[in-house]
Protein backbone atom coordinates (compact mmCIF):
# COMPACT_ATOMS: atom_id res chain seq x y z
CA UNK A 1 0.00 0.00 0.00
CA UNK A 2 1.25 3.47 -0.77
CA UNK A 3 1.49 5.56 2.37
CA UNK A 4 -0.78 8.54 2.34
CA UNK A 5 0.76 11.98 2.30
CA UNK A 6 0.83 14.25 5.26
CA UNK A 7 -0.50 11.72 7.71
CA UNK A 8 -4.03 13.10 7.32
CA UNK A 9 -6.69 10.84 8.76
CA UNK A 10 -8.20 8.15 6.55
CA UNK A 11 -11.66 9.32 7.53
CA UNK A 12 -12.65 12.53 9.26
CA UNK A 13 -16.19 13.63 10.01
CA UNK A 14 -16.78 16.94 11.69
CA UNK A 15 -20.28 17.76 12.87
CA UNK A 16 -21.41 15.78 9.83
CA UNK A 17 -25.03 15.33 8.89
CA UNK A 18 -25.83 12.71 6.25
CA UNK A 19 -29.21 11.73 4.88
CA UNK A 20 -31.39 11.21 1.86
CA UNK A 21 -33.16 14.04 0.12
CA UNK A 22 -33.61 16.56 2.90
CA UNK A 23 -34.07 13.96 5.61
CA UNK A 24 -31.06 13.71 7.92
CA UNK A 25 -30.37 10.20 9.16
CA UNK A 26 -26.99 10.72 10.76
CA UNK A 27 -26.70 14.03 12.59
CA UNK A 28 -23.80 15.99 13.97
CA UNK A 29 -21.28 13.19 14.00
CA UNK A 30 -17.62 13.71 14.84
CA UNK A 31 -15.34 10.84 14.01
CA UNK A 32 -11.72 10.46 13.08
CA UNK A 33 -10.21 7.22 11.88
CA UNK A 34 -6.46 7.03 11.42
CA UNK A 35 -4.60 5.19 8.69
CA UNK A 36 -4.35 1.49 9.26
CA UNK A 37 -7.10 1.26 11.84
CA UNK A 38 -9.59 -1.60 11.74
CA UNK A 39 -12.92 -0.27 12.84
CA UNK A 40 -16.34 -1.83 13.27
CA UNK A 41 -19.31 0.46 12.78
CA UNK A 42 -21.90 -1.22 14.94
CA UNK A 43 -25.57 -0.57 15.43
CA UNK A 44 -28.96 -2.13 15.06
CA UNK A 45 -31.08 -1.94 11.91
CA UNK A 46 -32.12 1.62 11.23
CA UNK A 47 -29.48 3.08 13.52
CA UNK A 48 -27.87 4.97 10.67
CA UNK A 49 -24.65 2.95 10.44
CA UNK A 50 -25.15 2.12 6.76
CA UNK A 51 -26.05 5.74 5.98
CA UNK A 52 -22.83 6.81 7.66
CA UNK A 53 -20.84 4.51 5.39
CA UNK A 54 -22.80 5.58 2.31
CA UNK A 55 -22.01 9.19 3.17
CA UNK A 56 -18.32 8.33 3.12
CA UNK A 57 -18.74 6.70 -0.27
CA UNK A 58 -20.60 9.61 -1.79
CA UNK A 59 -23.74 7.50 -2.16
CA UNK A 60 -25.69 9.52 0.39
CA UNK A 61 -25.40 13.31 0.36
CA UNK A 62 -23.62 15.16 3.13
CA UNK A 63 -26.24 17.65 4.33
CA UNK A 64 -24.03 19.51 6.76
CA UNK A 65 -20.64 19.58 8.39
CA UNK A 66 -17.53 18.10 6.85
CA UNK A 67 -16.72 14.63 5.62
CA UNK A 68 -13.17 14.00 4.50
CA UNK A 69 -11.76 10.87 2.97
CA UNK A 70 -8.01 10.35 2.66
CA UNK A 71 -7.49 14.05 3.23
CA UNK A 72 -10.00 15.38 0.69
CA UNK A 73 -13.67 16.38 0.99
CA UNK A 74 -15.75 13.38 -0.02
CA UNK A 75 -17.07 14.88 -3.26
CA UNK A 76 -13.67 16.06 -4.32
CA UNK A 77 -11.48 13.03 -3.82
CA UNK A 78 -10.04 12.62 -7.28
CA UNK A 79 -8.73 9.11 -7.03
CA UNK A 80 -11.85 7.31 -5.90
CA UNK A 81 -10.07 4.08 -6.73
CA UNK A 82 -8.15 4.47 -3.45
CA UNK A 83 -11.37 3.63 -1.66
CA UNK A 84 -12.65 0.06 -1.88
CA UNK A 85 -16.28 -0.82 -1.31
CA UNK A 86 -18.07 -4.07 -0.63
CA UNK A 87 -21.81 -3.42 -0.85
CA UNK A 88 -24.45 -5.17 1.18
CA UNK A 89 -25.60 -7.56 -1.49
CA UNK A 90 -26.20 -11.21 -1.09
CA UNK A 91 -25.53 -12.19 -4.65
CA UNK A 92 -23.48 -10.83 -7.48
CA UNK A 93 -25.19 -12.11 -10.54
CA UNK A 94 -26.97 -9.78 -12.88
CA UNK A 95 -29.24 -11.09 -15.61
CA UNK A 96 -26.38 -12.07 -17.90
CA UNK A 97 -23.83 -14.61 -16.65
CA UNK A 98 -20.36 -13.39 -15.74
CA UNK A 99 -17.29 -15.20 -14.51
CA UNK A 100 -15.47 -14.53 -11.25
CA UNK A 101 -12.65 -13.01 -13.30
CA UNK A 102 -15.02 -10.62 -15.09
CA UNK A 103 -16.66 -9.40 -11.89
CA UNK A 104 -13.38 -8.92 -10.03
CA UNK A 105 -11.78 -7.16 -13.03
CA UNK A 106 -14.30 -4.35 -12.56
CA UNK A 107 -12.38 -3.47 -9.41
CA UNK A 108 -9.45 -2.33 -11.54
CA UNK A 109 -11.44 -0.03 -13.83
CA UNK A 110 -11.68 2.96 -11.51
CA UNK A 111 -7.93 3.49 -11.54
CA UNK A 112 -7.68 3.14 -15.32
CA UNK A 113 -9.58 6.21 -16.42
CA UNK A 114 -12.16 6.00 -19.16
CA UNK A 115 -10.33 4.35 -22.02
CA UNK A 116 -7.30 2.45 -20.79
CA UNK A 117 -7.57 -1.33 -21.01
CA UNK A 118 -6.59 -3.85 -18.38
CA UNK A 119 -2.88 -4.60 -18.56
CA UNK A 120 -0.64 -7.27 -17.11
CA UNK A 121 -0.48 -5.50 -13.73
CA UNK A 122 -4.25 -5.38 -13.58
CA UNK A 123 -4.63 -9.02 -14.46
CA UNK A 124 -2.08 -9.94 -11.81
CA UNK A 125 -3.96 -7.88 -9.21
CA UNK A 126 -7.20 -9.63 -10.17
CA UNK A 127 -5.63 -13.09 -9.85
CA UNK A 128 -4.09 -12.09 -6.54
CA UNK A 129 -7.37 -10.80 -5.14
CA UNK A 130 -9.28 -13.90 -6.20
CA UNK A 131 -6.62 -16.13 -4.69
CA UNK A 132 -6.76 -14.10 -1.48
CA UNK A 133 -10.42 -14.96 -0.97
CA UNK A 134 -9.69 -18.60 -1.74
CA UNK A 135 -11.47 -18.86 -5.08
CA UNK A 136 -8.48 -19.23 -7.42
CA UNK A 137 -9.80 -22.52 -8.77
CA UNK A 138 -13.18 -20.95 -9.59
CA UNK A 139 -11.71 -18.04 -11.57
CA UNK A 140 -13.45 -18.80 -14.86
CA UNK A 141 -16.69 -20.19 -13.51
CA UNK A 142 -19.93 -18.24 -13.72
CA UNK A 143 -20.52 -16.39 -10.47
CA UNK A 144 -24.09 -17.66 -10.35
CA UNK A 145 -22.76 -21.20 -9.88
CA UNK A 146 -21.14 -20.25 -6.55
CA UNK A 147 -22.76 -20.38 -3.13
CA UNK A 148 -24.02 -17.20 -1.48
CA UNK A 149 -20.99 -16.99 0.78
CA UNK A 150 -18.62 -17.48 -2.13
CA UNK A 151 -20.40 -14.75 -4.07
CA UNK A 152 -19.81 -12.37 -1.17
CA UNK A 153 -16.14 -13.32 -1.33
CA UNK A 154 -16.16 -12.42 -5.02
CA UNK A 155 -17.41 -8.94 -4.08
CA UNK A 156 -14.63 -8.69 -1.50
CA UNK A 157 -12.12 -9.73 -4.16
CA UNK A 158 -13.49 -7.05 -6.48
CA UNK A 159 -12.78 -4.44 -3.81
CA UNK A 160 -9.34 -5.91 -3.02
CA UNK A 161 -8.35 -5.92 -6.69
CA UNK A 162 -8.35 -2.14 -6.56
CA UNK A 163 -5.69 -2.36 -3.82
CA UNK A 164 -7.48 0.31 -1.82
CA UNK A 165 -6.02 2.33 1.02
CA UNK A 166 -9.40 2.43 2.70
CA UNK A 167 -11.80 -0.51 2.51
CA UNK A 168 -15.43 0.06 3.44
CA UNK A 169 -17.62 -3.04 3.80
CA UNK A 170 -21.32 -3.22 4.49
CA UNK A 171 -22.38 -6.33 6.44
CA UNK A 172 -19.81 -8.63 4.84
CA UNK A 173 -20.61 -11.54 7.14
CA UNK A 174 -24.41 -11.37 7.18
CA UNK A 175 -26.00 -14.52 5.84
CA UNK A 176 -22.63 -16.05 4.98
CA UNK A 177 -21.69 -19.65 5.75
CA UNK A 178 -19.07 -20.36 8.41
CA UNK A 179 -16.37 -21.32 5.92
CA UNK A 180 -16.75 -18.05 4.05
CA UNK A 181 -16.80 -16.07 7.31
CA UNK A 182 -13.55 -17.68 8.30
CA UNK A 183 -12.01 -17.03 4.89
CA UNK A 184 -13.13 -13.43 5.13
CA UNK A 185 -11.59 -13.05 8.59
CA UNK A 186 -8.26 -14.34 7.28
CA UNK A 187 -8.31 -12.03 4.28
CA UNK A 188 -9.15 -8.97 6.34
CA UNK A 189 -6.42 -9.80 8.84
CA UNK A 190 -3.87 -9.89 6.02
CA UNK A 191 -5.21 -6.75 4.36
CA UNK A 192 -5.16 -4.92 7.67
CA UNK A 193 -1.64 -6.10 8.46
CA UNK A 194 -0.57 -4.66 5.11
CA UNK A 195 -1.70 -1.23 6.27
CA UNK A 196 -5.15 -0.88 4.70
CA UNK A 197 -7.68 1.00 6.78
CA UNK A 198 -10.74 -1.16 7.41
CA UNK A 199 -14.21 0.11 8.09
CA UNK A 200 -16.75 -2.65 8.53
CA UNK A 201 -20.42 -1.83 8.97
CA UNK A 202 -22.05 -4.69 10.81
CA UNK A 203 -24.67 -5.47 13.39
CA UNK A 204 -22.48 -8.22 14.75
CA UNK A 205 -18.71 -8.02 14.87
CA UNK A 206 -18.52 -11.59 16.15
CA UNK A 207 -16.91 -13.34 13.17
CA UNK A 208 -14.35 -10.54 12.78
CA UNK A 209 -13.39 -9.89 16.40
CA UNK A 210 -9.85 -11.07 15.74
CA UNK A 211 -9.37 -8.41 13.09
CA UNK A 212 -11.32 -5.35 14.17
CA UNK A 213 -9.96 -3.49 17.16
CA UNK A 214 -12.06 -0.38 17.52
CA UNK A 215 -15.80 -0.09 17.64
CA UNK A 216 -18.00 2.86 16.83
CA UNK A 217 -21.60 2.26 17.86
CA UNK A 218 -24.20 4.26 15.98
CA UNK A 219 -27.59 4.72 17.53
CA UNK A 220 -30.40 6.95 16.35
CA UNK A 221 -28.03 8.64 13.94
CA UNK A 222 -25.46 9.51 16.58
CA UNK A 223 -22.37 7.87 17.95
CA UNK A 224 -23.12 6.32 21.32
CA UNK A 225 -19.84 4.53 21.89
CA UNK A 226 -16.35 4.81 20.50
CA UNK A 227 -13.59 2.68 21.90
CA UNK A 228 -12.06 -0.76 21.95
CA UNK A 229 -14.21 -3.40 20.30
CA UNK A 230 -14.07 -5.53 23.42
CA UNK A 231 -15.80 -2.77 25.36
CA UNK A 232 -18.69 -2.61 22.92
CA UNK A 233 -19.15 -6.31 22.54
CA UNK A 234 -21.72 -7.07 25.22
CA UNK A 235 -24.30 -4.70 23.82
CA UNK A 236 -23.41 -4.65 20.16
CA UNK A 237 -23.03 -8.38 20.12
CA UNK A 238 -26.72 -8.60 20.76
CA UNK A 239 -28.80 -8.63 17.65
CA UNK A 240 -31.48 -6.33 16.40
CA UNK A 241 -33.86 -7.49 19.03
CA UNK A 242 -31.78 -5.94 21.78
CA UNK A 243 -33.48 -3.52 24.12
CA UNK A 244 -33.90 0.23 23.88
CA UNK A 245 -30.87 2.27 22.85
CA UNK A 246 -30.15 3.18 26.45
CA UNK A 247 -29.06 -0.40 26.90
CA UNK A 248 -26.13 0.09 24.56
CA UNK A 249 -22.89 0.47 26.37
CA UNK A 250 -21.81 4.04 26.65
CA UNK A 251 -18.47 4.25 28.31
CA UNK A 252 -16.79 7.54 29.00
CA UNK A 253 -18.28 9.21 26.01
CA UNK A 254 -20.96 11.84 25.89
CA UNK A 255 -22.77 12.90 22.78
CA UNK A 256 -22.21 16.57 23.48
CA UNK A 257 -18.47 16.15 23.45
CA UNK A 258 -17.23 17.95 20.36
CA UNK A 259 -14.66 15.54 18.97
CA UNK A 260 -13.63 11.99 19.12
CA UNK A 261 -9.92 11.72 18.80
CA UNK A 262 -8.28 9.27 16.50
CA UNK A 263 -7.30 6.08 18.15
CA UNK A 264 -4.42 4.32 16.52
CA UNK A 265 -5.02 0.69 15.89
CA UNK A 266 -4.08 -1.38 18.89
CA UNK A 267 -0.92 -3.27 18.12
CA UNK A 268 -0.18 -6.89 18.83
CA UNK A 269 -2.39 -8.50 16.27
Amino acid sequence: MTPSPGGAAAVRLQNATIGYGDVPIVTGVDLTIGHGEAVAILGSNGSGKTTLARGLLGLAPVLGGEVELLGAPVGRLRERGRVGYVPQRHTVSGAVPATVREVVSVGRLASLGLFRRLGATDRAAVSHAVAAVGLADRMDEPVASLSGGQQRRVLVARALAAQPELLIMDEPTAGVDAASQEALGDVLARVSAAGTTLLVVTHEAGPLTGVLTRAVVVDHGRISYDGPLSGAEPAAGQHDHCGPPEDLVVRGYRLDQPTVSARPAAGGR
Partner: protein, 342 residues
Protein backbone atom coordinates in the same frame (compact mmCIF):
# COMPACT_ATOMS: atom_id res chain seq x y z
CA UNK B 1 -29.18 -17.70 -55.29
CA UNK B 2 -31.63 -15.64 -57.32
CA UNK B 3 -32.24 -13.57 -54.20
CA UNK B 4 -28.87 -11.85 -54.71
CA UNK B 5 -29.67 -10.82 -58.27
CA UNK B 6 -31.82 -7.94 -57.13
CA UNK B 7 -30.17 -4.76 -55.93
CA UNK B 8 -32.89 -4.10 -53.39
CA UNK B 9 -32.40 -7.54 -51.85
CA UNK B 10 -28.64 -7.09 -51.72
CA UNK B 11 -29.19 -3.86 -49.81
CA UNK B 12 -31.82 -5.51 -47.63
CA UNK B 13 -29.48 -8.31 -46.68
CA UNK B 14 -26.64 -5.90 -45.96
CA UNK B 15 -28.92 -3.83 -43.77
CA UNK B 16 -30.17 -6.88 -41.91
CA UNK B 17 -26.60 -8.04 -41.40
CA UNK B 18 -25.65 -4.78 -39.73
CA UNK B 19 -28.79 -4.65 -37.63
CA UNK B 20 -28.44 -8.25 -36.52
CA UNK B 21 -24.92 -7.61 -35.35
CA UNK B 22 -25.44 -4.27 -33.64
CA UNK B 23 -28.80 -4.66 -31.89
CA UNK B 24 -27.73 -7.47 -29.52
CA UNK B 25 -24.33 -5.85 -28.87
CA UNK B 26 -26.22 -2.96 -27.30
CA UNK B 27 -29.18 -4.96 -26.04
CA UNK B 28 -27.13 -7.20 -23.80
CA UNK B 29 -26.27 -4.24 -21.58
CA UNK B 30 -29.96 -3.38 -21.33
CA UNK B 31 -30.74 -6.97 -20.33
CA UNK B 32 -27.99 -6.83 -17.71
CA UNK B 33 -29.37 -3.56 -16.43
CA UNK B 34 -32.93 -4.92 -16.45
CA UNK B 35 -33.95 -2.06 -18.69
CA UNK B 36 -35.07 -4.24 -21.56
CA UNK B 37 -37.83 -1.93 -22.65
CA UNK B 38 -35.68 1.16 -23.09
CA UNK B 39 -35.26 0.33 -26.78
CA UNK B 40 -38.99 0.07 -27.14
CA UNK B 41 -39.49 3.48 -25.58
CA UNK B 42 -36.84 5.12 -27.71
CA UNK B 43 -38.50 3.58 -30.75
CA UNK B 44 -41.64 5.48 -29.81
CA UNK B 45 -39.67 8.69 -29.45
CA UNK B 46 -37.95 8.15 -32.78
CA UNK B 47 -41.33 8.18 -34.50
CA UNK B 48 -41.75 11.85 -33.66
CA UNK B 49 -38.36 12.44 -35.25
CA UNK B 50 -39.45 10.60 -38.38
CA UNK B 51 -42.59 12.72 -38.57
CA UNK B 52 -40.64 15.93 -38.16
CA UNK B 53 -38.30 14.76 -40.90
CA UNK B 54 -41.16 14.01 -43.24
CA UNK B 55 -42.97 17.28 -42.49
CA UNK B 56 -39.90 19.44 -42.97
CA UNK B 57 -38.74 17.42 -45.97
CA UNK B 58 -35.44 16.63 -44.31
CA UNK B 59 -34.12 13.11 -44.06
CA UNK B 60 -36.41 11.14 -41.74
CA UNK B 61 -33.56 8.84 -40.69
CA UNK B 62 -31.39 11.73 -39.52
CA UNK B 63 -34.33 13.43 -37.79
CA UNK B 64 -35.23 10.16 -36.06
CA UNK B 65 -31.63 9.84 -34.88
CA UNK B 66 -31.68 13.31 -33.38
CA UNK B 67 -35.04 12.71 -31.67
CA UNK B 68 -34.01 9.34 -30.27
CA UNK B 69 -30.67 10.62 -28.95
CA UNK B 70 -32.40 13.60 -27.32
CA UNK B 71 -34.96 11.23 -25.83
CA UNK B 72 -32.19 8.97 -24.56
CA UNK B 73 -30.32 11.79 -22.85
CA UNK B 74 -33.54 13.09 -21.33
CA UNK B 75 -34.40 9.65 -19.98
CA UNK B 76 -31.02 9.27 -18.30
CA UNK B 77 -31.34 12.70 -16.73
CA UNK B 78 -34.80 11.80 -15.40
CA UNK B 79 -33.52 8.45 -14.14
CA UNK B 80 -30.60 10.01 -12.31
CA UNK B 81 -32.99 12.34 -10.44
CA UNK B 82 -34.83 9.85 -8.30
CA UNK B 83 -36.83 6.95 -9.54
CA UNK B 84 -40.38 7.33 -8.29
CA UNK B 85 -41.39 10.11 -10.62
CA UNK B 86 -38.99 8.74 -13.22
CA UNK B 87 -41.31 5.90 -14.09
CA UNK B 88 -44.17 8.21 -14.92
CA UNK B 89 -41.88 10.64 -16.72
CA UNK B 90 -40.68 7.81 -18.94
CA UNK B 91 -44.21 6.78 -19.78
CA UNK B 92 -45.10 10.37 -20.69
CA UNK B 93 -42.02 10.65 -22.89
CA UNK B 94 -42.59 7.33 -24.63
CA UNK B 95 -46.26 7.74 -25.36
CA UNK B 96 -45.79 11.40 -26.15
CA UNK B 97 -43.28 10.23 -28.74
CA UNK B 98 -45.59 7.87 -30.56
CA UNK B 99 -48.64 10.14 -30.28
CA UNK B 100 -46.64 13.07 -31.60
CA UNK B 101 -45.39 10.96 -34.48
CA UNK B 102 -48.82 9.76 -35.50
CA UNK B 103 -50.39 13.22 -35.32
CA UNK B 104 -47.53 14.97 -37.12
CA UNK B 105 -47.46 12.36 -39.88
CA UNK B 106 -51.18 12.81 -40.48
CA UNK B 107 -50.52 16.50 -41.11
CA UNK B 108 -48.08 15.79 -43.92
CA UNK B 109 -49.32 16.83 -47.34
CA UNK B 110 -50.61 14.11 -49.63
CA UNK B 111 -48.06 12.52 -51.88
CA UNK B 112 -45.35 12.60 -49.21
CA UNK B 113 -43.81 9.36 -48.14
CA UNK B 114 -45.98 9.09 -45.07
CA UNK B 115 -46.36 5.37 -44.93
CA UNK B 116 -46.64 5.00 -41.17
CA UNK B 117 -46.66 1.24 -41.42
CA UNK B 118 -43.23 1.10 -43.01
CA UNK B 119 -41.76 2.85 -39.97
CA UNK B 120 -43.72 0.87 -37.41
CA UNK B 121 -43.10 -2.55 -38.91
CA UNK B 122 -40.14 -2.00 -41.21
CA UNK B 123 -39.75 -1.84 -44.96
CA UNK B 124 -36.36 -3.31 -45.56
CA UNK B 125 -36.67 -3.55 -49.32
CA UNK B 126 -36.94 0.24 -49.59
CA UNK B 127 -33.42 0.70 -48.23
CA UNK B 128 -31.51 2.88 -50.66
CA UNK B 129 -27.72 3.22 -51.00
CA UNK B 130 -27.79 6.46 -49.01
CA UNK B 131 -29.47 4.67 -46.09
CA UNK B 132 -26.88 1.93 -46.30
CA UNK B 133 -24.09 4.46 -45.92
CA UNK B 134 -25.75 5.94 -42.82
CA UNK B 135 -26.29 2.45 -41.44
CA UNK B 136 -22.64 1.55 -42.01
CA UNK B 137 -21.49 4.63 -40.12
CA UNK B 138 -23.86 3.82 -37.22
CA UNK B 139 -22.71 0.20 -37.17
CA UNK B 140 -19.03 1.04 -37.06
CA UNK B 141 -19.59 3.72 -34.43
CA UNK B 142 -21.72 1.56 -32.16
CA UNK B 143 -19.43 -1.47 -32.38
CA UNK B 144 -16.40 0.77 -31.88
CA UNK B 145 -17.83 2.34 -28.73
CA UNK B 146 -18.88 -1.04 -27.35
CA UNK B 147 -15.38 -2.36 -28.05
CA UNK B 148 -13.78 0.62 -26.37
CA UNK B 149 -16.08 1.06 -23.38
CA UNK B 150 -17.66 -2.38 -23.12
CA UNK B 151 -16.04 -3.25 -19.82
CA UNK B 152 -17.11 0.06 -18.25
CA UNK B 153 -20.63 -0.32 -19.63
CA UNK B 154 -20.71 -3.80 -18.12
CA UNK B 155 -19.53 -2.45 -14.76
CA UNK B 156 -22.21 0.23 -14.67
CA UNK B 157 -24.96 -2.09 -15.92
CA UNK B 158 -24.00 -4.77 -13.42
CA UNK B 159 -23.68 -2.74 -10.21
CA UNK B 160 -24.42 0.93 -10.60
CA UNK B 161 -24.00 1.68 -6.91
CA UNK B 162 -20.54 0.16 -6.75
CA UNK B 163 -19.54 1.96 -9.92
CA UNK B 164 -20.59 5.25 -8.38
CA UNK B 165 -18.84 4.51 -5.09
CA UNK B 166 -15.49 3.87 -6.78
CA UNK B 167 -15.82 6.92 -8.98
CA UNK B 168 -16.67 5.60 -12.42
CA UNK B 169 -18.51 8.28 -14.44
CA UNK B 170 -21.88 6.57 -14.08
CA UNK B 171 -24.12 9.25 -15.57
CA UNK B 172 -21.84 9.71 -18.58
CA UNK B 173 -21.63 5.97 -19.21
CA UNK B 174 -25.39 5.59 -18.89
CA UNK B 175 -25.83 8.38 -21.41
CA UNK B 176 -23.39 6.72 -23.77
CA UNK B 177 -25.38 3.51 -23.51
CA UNK B 178 -28.70 5.29 -24.03
CA UNK B 179 -27.26 7.07 -27.05
CA UNK B 180 -26.05 3.75 -28.47
CA UNK B 181 -29.56 2.41 -27.99
CA UNK B 182 -30.98 5.43 -29.79
CA UNK B 183 -28.59 4.95 -32.71
CA UNK B 184 -29.47 1.27 -32.88
CA UNK B 185 -33.16 2.06 -32.85
CA UNK B 186 -32.75 4.25 -35.91
CA UNK B 187 -30.57 1.66 -37.60
CA UNK B 188 -33.16 -1.05 -36.98
CA UNK B 189 -36.16 1.09 -37.90
CA UNK B 190 -36.04 0.06 -41.55
CA UNK B 191 -35.41 -3.59 -40.94
CA UNK B 192 -37.69 -4.62 -38.09
CA UNK B 193 -39.74 -1.48 -37.53
CA UNK B 194 -40.01 0.76 -34.50
CA UNK B 195 -42.45 -1.52 -32.70
CA UNK B 196 -40.25 -4.59 -32.96
CA UNK B 197 -36.81 -3.07 -32.43
CA UNK B 198 -36.62 -4.03 -28.79
CA UNK B 199 -37.12 -7.68 -29.72
CA UNK B 200 -33.98 -7.77 -31.82
CA UNK B 201 -32.00 -6.13 -29.02
CA UNK B 202 -33.32 -8.34 -26.27
CA UNK B 203 -34.24 -11.79 -27.57
CA UNK B 204 -30.78 -12.80 -28.89
CA UNK B 205 -29.30 -11.71 -25.54
CA UNK B 206 -31.97 -13.68 -23.73
CA UNK B 207 -30.99 -16.80 -25.69
CA UNK B 208 -27.28 -16.19 -25.09
CA UNK B 209 -27.66 -15.74 -21.33
CA UNK B 210 -29.25 -19.19 -21.12
CA UNK B 211 -26.15 -20.96 -22.38
CA UNK B 212 -23.17 -18.64 -21.92
CA UNK B 213 -20.78 -18.93 -18.98
CA UNK B 214 -19.23 -15.48 -19.17
CA UNK B 215 -20.40 -12.03 -20.15
CA UNK B 216 -17.99 -11.90 -23.05
CA UNK B 217 -19.26 -15.23 -24.31
CA UNK B 218 -22.84 -14.02 -23.96
CA UNK B 219 -22.04 -10.86 -25.93
CA UNK B 220 -20.44 -12.72 -28.84
CA UNK B 221 -23.12 -15.37 -28.85
CA UNK B 222 -25.91 -12.79 -28.83
CA UNK B 223 -24.34 -11.03 -31.80
CA UNK B 224 -23.98 -14.30 -33.69
CA UNK B 225 -27.60 -15.21 -32.96
CA UNK B 226 -28.79 -11.75 -33.94
CA UNK B 227 -26.86 -11.90 -37.19
CA UNK B 228 -28.19 -15.35 -38.02
CA UNK B 229 -31.87 -14.68 -37.34
CA UNK B 230 -31.71 -11.29 -39.02
CA UNK B 231 -30.19 -12.50 -42.27
CA UNK B 232 -32.15 -15.74 -42.40
CA UNK B 233 -35.37 -13.94 -41.47
CA UNK B 234 -34.85 -11.45 -44.27
CA UNK B 235 -34.12 -14.26 -46.70
CA UNK B 236 -37.17 -16.20 -45.57
CA UNK B 237 -39.37 -13.15 -45.90
CA UNK B 238 -38.28 -12.81 -49.53
CA UNK B 239 -39.50 -16.30 -50.35
CA UNK B 240 -42.63 -16.29 -48.19
CA UNK B 241 -43.66 -12.73 -48.94
CA UNK B 242 -44.01 -11.97 -45.22
CA UNK B 243 -42.79 -8.74 -43.59
CA UNK B 244 -39.09 -8.96 -42.72
CA UNK B 245 -39.41 -7.52 -39.20
CA UNK B 246 -42.06 -9.93 -38.01
CA UNK B 247 -40.29 -12.88 -39.63
CA UNK B 248 -36.97 -12.06 -37.97
CA UNK B 249 -38.53 -11.59 -34.56
CA UNK B 250 -40.57 -14.79 -34.81
CA UNK B 251 -37.41 -16.69 -35.76
CA UNK B 252 -35.60 -15.25 -32.75
CA UNK B 253 -38.46 -16.14 -30.41
CA UNK B 254 -38.63 -19.66 -31.83
CA UNK B 255 -34.93 -20.04 -31.09
CA UNK B 256 -35.47 -18.70 -27.58
CA UNK B 257 -38.26 -21.20 -26.89
CA UNK B 258 -36.19 -24.03 -28.31
CA UNK B 259 -33.11 -23.22 -26.25
CA UNK B 260 -34.99 -22.55 -23.02
CA UNK B 261 -36.85 -25.83 -23.54
CA UNK B 262 -33.55 -27.62 -24.00
CA UNK B 263 -32.03 -26.02 -20.91
CA UNK B 264 -35.11 -26.88 -18.81
CA UNK B 265 -35.00 -30.48 -20.03
CA UNK B 266 -31.32 -30.76 -19.17
CA UNK B 267 -31.95 -29.46 -15.66
CA UNK B 268 -34.86 -31.82 -15.07
CA UNK B 269 -32.93 -34.90 -16.16
CA UNK B 270 -29.86 -33.88 -14.17
CA UNK B 271 -31.99 -33.39 -11.06
CA UNK B 272 -33.79 -36.68 -11.56
CA UNK B 273 -30.55 -38.55 -12.07
CA UNK B 274 -29.09 -37.03 -8.95
CA UNK B 275 -32.18 -37.81 -6.88
CA UNK B 276 -32.12 -41.41 -8.02
CA UNK B 277 -28.51 -41.65 -7.02
CA UNK B 278 -28.94 -40.11 -3.62
CA UNK B 279 -32.01 -42.23 -2.86
CA UNK B 280 -29.99 -45.37 -3.45
CA UNK B 281 -27.25 -44.14 -1.21
CA UNK B 282 -29.47 -42.68 1.49
CA UNK B 283 -29.86 -46.16 2.99
CA UNK B 284 -26.28 -46.12 4.30
CA UNK B 285 -25.11 -42.57 4.90
CA UNK B 286 -21.41 -43.08 5.45
CA UNK B 287 -18.23 -42.73 3.48
CA UNK B 288 -16.97 -45.90 1.92
CA UNK B 289 -13.45 -46.90 2.77
CA UNK B 290 -11.30 -49.60 4.18
CA UNK B 291 -13.29 -51.61 6.70
CA UNK B 292 -16.63 -49.90 6.06
CA UNK B 293 -18.22 -53.27 5.55
CA UNK B 294 -18.69 -52.92 1.81
CA UNK B 295 -16.12 -54.88 -0.19
CA UNK B 296 -14.00 -52.82 -2.62
CA UNK B 297 -14.24 -53.82 -6.27
CA UNK B 298 -11.71 -52.52 -8.83
CA UNK B 299 -13.55 -50.87 -11.71
CA UNK B 300 -11.42 -49.53 -14.56
CA UNK B 301 -9.22 -46.76 -13.19
CA UNK B 302 -10.86 -46.57 -9.77
CA UNK B 303 -12.31 -48.64 -6.94
CA UNK B 304 -16.05 -49.08 -6.41
CA UNK B 305 -17.71 -50.46 -3.29
CA UNK B 306 -20.16 -53.31 -3.47
CA UNK B 307 -23.32 -52.29 -1.71
CA UNK B 308 -25.96 -55.02 -1.64
CA UNK B 309 -25.10 -56.05 -5.16
CA UNK B 310 -24.69 -52.65 -6.85
CA UNK B 311 -21.50 -50.63 -7.15
CA UNK B 312 -20.86 -47.25 -5.57
CA UNK B 313 -18.07 -45.14 -7.02
CA UNK B 314 -16.76 -42.37 -4.78
CA UNK B 315 -16.91 -39.03 -6.55
CA UNK B 316 -14.93 -36.26 -4.90
CA UNK B 317 -16.28 -32.76 -5.52
CA UNK B 318 -15.65 -29.40 -3.96
CA UNK B 319 -18.62 -29.98 -1.67
CA UNK B 320 -17.38 -33.32 -0.39
CA UNK B 321 -17.76 -36.85 -1.55
CA UNK B 322 -20.84 -38.48 -3.00
CA UNK B 323 -21.39 -41.82 -4.65
CA UNK B 324 -22.30 -42.54 -8.23
CA UNK B 325 -24.02 -45.73 -9.27
CA UNK B 326 -21.69 -47.80 -11.41
CA UNK B 327 -23.98 -50.70 -12.20
CA UNK B 328 -24.44 -53.98 -10.35
CA UNK B 329 -21.82 -56.35 -9.08
CA UNK B 330 -23.65 -59.41 -10.39
CA UNK B 331 -22.91 -58.15 -13.91
CA UNK B 332 -19.37 -56.78 -13.52
CA UNK B 333 -19.22 -55.35 -17.04
CA UNK B 334 -22.16 -53.10 -16.28
CA UNK B 335 -23.82 -51.86 -19.47
CA UNK B 336 -22.93 -48.20 -20.04
CA UNK B 337 -22.51 -47.04 -16.47
CA UNK B 338 -24.10 -43.66 -15.82
CA UNK B 339 -21.53 -40.94 -15.89
CA UNK B 340 -20.44 -39.55 -12.58
CA UNK B 341 -21.19 -36.34 -10.81
CA UNK B 342 -21.22 -33.72 -13.49
Amino acid sequence: MDILEYGFMQRALLASLMVGLVAPAVGIFLVQRRLSLLGDGLGHVALTGVAVGVLTSTAPVAAALVAAVLGAVLIELVRSRGRTSGDVALAVLFYGGIAGGVVLLSLAPRGQATNLESYLFGAITTTDPGDLAVFAVITVTVLGVVGLLGQRLYAVSDDEEYARAVGLPVLALNMVLATLVAATVVLSMRVVGLLLISALMIVPSAVAQLVARSFRQALYLACAIGLTVSVSGTTASYYTGTPSGGTIVLLAIMLFLLVSGGVALREVTARRRHRRRSEVHAAHPHEHGRGCGHPPVPHGDHVDYDHDGHLHAPHLTGAGVHYDEHGTHAVPAAPSPPRGGQ
